[in-house]
Symmetry: C2
Subunit: 611 residues, 2 copies
């Protein structure tokens, strides 16, 4: 077990090894952009699927929707630019919402964000596999297994810790950017050289074009914006001056994003591209432009690689927000422990399990995950921007009106998107989010309440400075017979107290006499009590005896129990012994909890060797 | 949980309630015959399936095979009649084989017998459901679920204990005997009144008739004999004179058995009955005679009821043989514990789980279970009879030659059947038995070896009469901070020893100083040791410290560890605490096992309340 673990995850790393390395803009772009840039893969697909319902008439709106979404991208990016300069320590939606709008808004943002991270993983992986399956249709039936396989790989990488792989990660990112640039340029050249292709997708309409269809396509397509916030969370890792460098990176990323998004959408509409069967629209575009050549396959593979890197960003974000929430006592404290590879191992595992669950539940279909994704992401956006508005109003520094206006515009726009998604996509899955987010918040509050209660009880406030002397101890020792296994326990008990009663629970009528005879032979000076057990249970009669004994003596404490315990080796030992000591401990701890008294249990193990 | 248990299984019964009721021949026949009598259901079916391969030519041998098998039945019954008189205490194949042929033959018989019981359950249930599905073909696809449903019902009945249901059980048994008598008489009358029906099943042959086909049909058909040994195991429950009454019951049962078996086979051949599709041959015969009338359905239902009762005999036999083997230390001792309803609850559950596994594995198809069944049953027969031969040779009482001859004939005949089944049905499943039985025997021997080893180590032999005085104790107490949770543990430790060291493992650099300050404020007289943990593990540095400390002091013992343990309530408490105390105990018990020393652990719980 241990060796396998070391092979997969590497050996433990000391705390002193925590890296505080700062990164430049080139590496930072590769680290923070994959989520945002790769979202064109599913956003384009959603716009196509949404508009194709209305046939050719619907597809005529492709580029127009693209322009609207890109405009919102500009607003959101500007909004976050302000956050970057105002919170140079890196503040996610949770912190901004909590500080400015109060606990509840903070928790709402945190819940939305955690859901968002889960869905980044699930959507990116499934969309990536769909891109690959477009090029190799034989893989389509295996997309759940393939998504899970990539997830497993990413999980192992993240359990090892990713410090050293920052540079490696840049390769697929710049490979993706380069290959998509190439495709768009090829497309533009083709446009220029063959000027007379009219828009004619020639697709029959399933429904007449309506506002609802356009709104739905917009709602799903707006997932193109997911990931824009990433840089604002990571400002401290930039080289100095952090905020300036982070801001420049954000601008570069947003421009790149707009170019790729509008470029692909425009070409799709111009050439009247329509995808058929299980193929994605980006694949159809690339196939049209490269005519099934080598370059086409390159584009599909780079899409899968980029989406896998994007899924990885969930592993950067989720465990960190979970650790912050655990620090604030809204999540179990296990989530804040750094594992022996200096990663939040529990958070990683929780994320991996939940993502796998989503992939299996939605059968590896990115399209059905999108409505959930959009609600989570845009709720977090809205709260974060609204928090900034409040921040400016409170602070009233120079130019606060303009700044509040920009963040307000961001909040309004993204809030509108939340409502459009929530209503337009309600039946398609947005309702799930509206149930899950309140449940998550309830969980946060319940956990918080629990830790508060425990904290009160552990507090030293009001404890008298003088501790009362501990009364004379009484010991009771259950025995299963007179054999070597109990001698060490008797030895131990004798060395600390003369007040010891051994108890034998007699299941088989008559066995008690034999035990007493042997006992008197070896321990004539010690008391042995024999308790009949007409119902053949061992534990209940023993606990009853303890309760009666405590009641009789009534000295303000419970008798301590000395348990002679067999400890066996290996497989055979474990299946062949009826774990009586464990059951007994459990019963003692939980059934004998009396107000103000504690049940002390002394384990005296007897090691039994095999062979 | 407890209430559901009581509702299903009834309240606990005292040991004094163990029934020693004796039963008369009428009830005894109902108690011991179902397994034997009901086997005509699958034996007839197997003979038909086996011979039908060779078409009409094959089916012409139906009655002849029946006569051969009935002759063997007579030999086996005579053989067991001698066992009954010689072992009035009731001796199964295991005891007879062990006493007369030695340990290994006994274990072989025991393994064969346990397998036999598992298969009685699986074969009877599936054959019963097949009988019902013959009448109601719509049920056919649900036969696995239906078999499991009946199994569950029988399991619950047996977990409650069956003492009071002996009389109730007689109803389906005599109902079955009566309804089959009726059918055979109707058939014979029909034969007499319509004398000129020739034998003409008119079935095309898939293979030419061969000796191998006949042998295979015989091998499978011989499962008609299973269950004949039941009475010999239960002699003590008969009214006095036990052996005489048991012997008479055995003779009555065997005659009944022969009549039902030959009667149904003879009629099947005479009327040229052929079953089609999923129907059983007995159903086809009954349908032919009663022409789909009410009586037909009655026969099918009585068959299902009888087979269910037969499956129940496995619950009477399996847990008892398992308990005897556990008593002899060949099986885990849990199997010999009487549950609170005075039944061998663990044996019942093991049997139910294994039977369910077989039903699911073989998809509820009795035909594919038969080869395994025959090997197990006839191996036990052979060993039991061979043991009797040895018994007579040793004893040499009056007429021992004749008696040895009869048992010898029994052993030879049943041994021949084992070989015929093993070879003829090798590919169809007999090979599985040949793998499983040795595995079971290996398991028996391994368990025995383990208990022997433990027994040696627990023995008081050679223990010095004077116990060495226990040396002065040293205590070490790990703490997670200075809070109320550790005060009671400190109290306890102080009351028994002044030699106490508290240990704080410092995961977060700097936390140690804060803990030391608080510690010195509250316990200025006690030592606190702070151990840095660069790899953030709590347990390893603590265990390392203990090891070093013991090495330094070197007083011939290990330091005892006092564990202040949080005990929380309910769901929230359990998920929100990282069970450090349990992990610590585990590490202490298993990692600190030193030759000759024992690791004493003192648990001082601190109960934390919710609300």
């Amino acid at each position: 077990m241990y060796r396998l673990r070391t092979l997969l995850l590497g050996s433990p790393l000391p705390t002193a090894g925590l890296s505080h390395e700062k990164i430049g803009k080139f590496k930072a772009l590769a680290a923070f952009s994959p989520d945002a840039l790769s979202s064109i893969a599913y956003a384009n697909q959603e716009i196509f699927l949404g508009l194709a319902v209305a046939g050719s008439a619907g597809l005529g709106f492709t580029f127009s929707l693209g322009i609207i979404i890109t405009a919102i991208l500009a607003i959101v990016a500007l909004s976050y630019l302000q956050t970057i300069h105002e919170y140079p320590s890196g503040a996610g939606s949770y912190i901004v919402a909590k500080e400015n709008l109060g606990e509840f808004a903070g928790l709402l943002a945190a819940a939305a964000l955690m859901l968002d991270y889960l869905l980044v993983g699930a959507v990116s992986l499934t969309a990536g596999v769909e891109a690959l399956a477009s090029a190799f249709p034989a893989l389509f039936p295996y997309r759940v297994v393939m998504s899970l396989g990539i997830l497993l790989f990413i999980t192992i990488l993240n359990m090892r810790g990713l410090q050293e792989t920052g540079t490696v990660m840049s390769i697929p990112v710049y490979f993706f950017i380069g290959s998509f640039f190439l495709m768009i340029i090829v497309g533009l050249v083709r446009m220029a050289t063959t000027p007379s292709i009219p828009f004619s997708p020639n697709l029959p309409a399933a429904q007449p074009l309506s506002i609802l269809i356009l709104l739905r396509a917009f709602a799903s397509g707006s997932t193109a914006l997911t990931g824009v916030e990433a840089i604002s969370n990571g400002v401290p890792v930039f080289k100095k001056p952090e905020s300036i460098n982070a801001g420049i990176t954000l601008i570069v990323m947003s421009v790149l994003m707009g170019f790729l998004f509008l470029g692909t959408l425009g070409l799709t509409q111009y050439f009247g591209i329509v995808s058929q069967g299980e193929e994605t629209i980006l694949s159809a575009l690339s196939r049209h432009l490269f005519d099934n050549a080598f370059w086409y396959y390159l584009i599909q593979i780079s899409t899968l690689a980029m989406l896998s890197v994007a899924a990885n960003t969930a592993f950067a974000g989720f465990p960190r927000i979970a650790a912050i929430l655990a620090e604030h006592r809204y999540l179990p404290s296990q989530l804040k422990a750094l594992g022996d590879r200096l990663v939040f191992a529990n958070g990683n595992l929780l994320l991996a399990a939940a993502t796998a669950f989503l992939i299996i539940l939605f059968r590896g279909d990115s399209h059905s995950l999108i409505p959930l994704f959009a609600v989570g992401a845009f709720t977090a956006f809205t709260l974060s921007q609204a928090g900034m508005v409040r921040h400016w109003i409170r602070k009233k520094t120079g130019g606060w009106r303009t700044k509040a206006f920009i963040n307000g515009l961001g909040a309004l726009t993204t809030g509108a998107v939340v409502i459009i998604v929530g209503v337009g996509k309600f039946i398609q899955g947005a309702w799930i989010t509206l149930i899950i987010i309140p449940l998550i918040i309830y969980f946060f509050l319940r956990v918080h309440h629990h830790y508060d209660k425990i904290g009160e009880q552990l507090s030293l406030k009001g404890l008298p400075p003088e501790l009362k002397p501990y009364p004379k101890l009484r010991f009771v020792m259950p025995i299963s017979g007179v054999h070597r296994g109990i001698f060490q326990a008797v030895d131990f008990a004798r060395s600390i107290s003369k007040n010891l009663i051994a108890v034998y629970v007699e299941v088989e009528p008559g066995a008690g006499d034999r035990v007493r005879k042997k006992w008197e032979e070896w321990f004539p000076d010690l008391t042995l009590k024999i308790i009949p057990s007409p119902y053949r249970s061992i534990i209940e009669p023993f606990i009853d005896f303890l309760d009666r004994y405590d009641e009789e003596v009534n000295d303000g404490q419970l008798a301590a129990v000395i348990l002679p315990e067999f400890v066996t080796e290996g497989f055979w030992g474990n299946i062949l012994h009826n774990q009586m000591a464990w059951l007994m401990k459990f019963a003692l701890l939980y059934r004998r909890r009396k107000k103000g008294y504690q049940q002390v249990i002394v384990d005296v193990p007897f090691h039994v060797r095999e062979e």
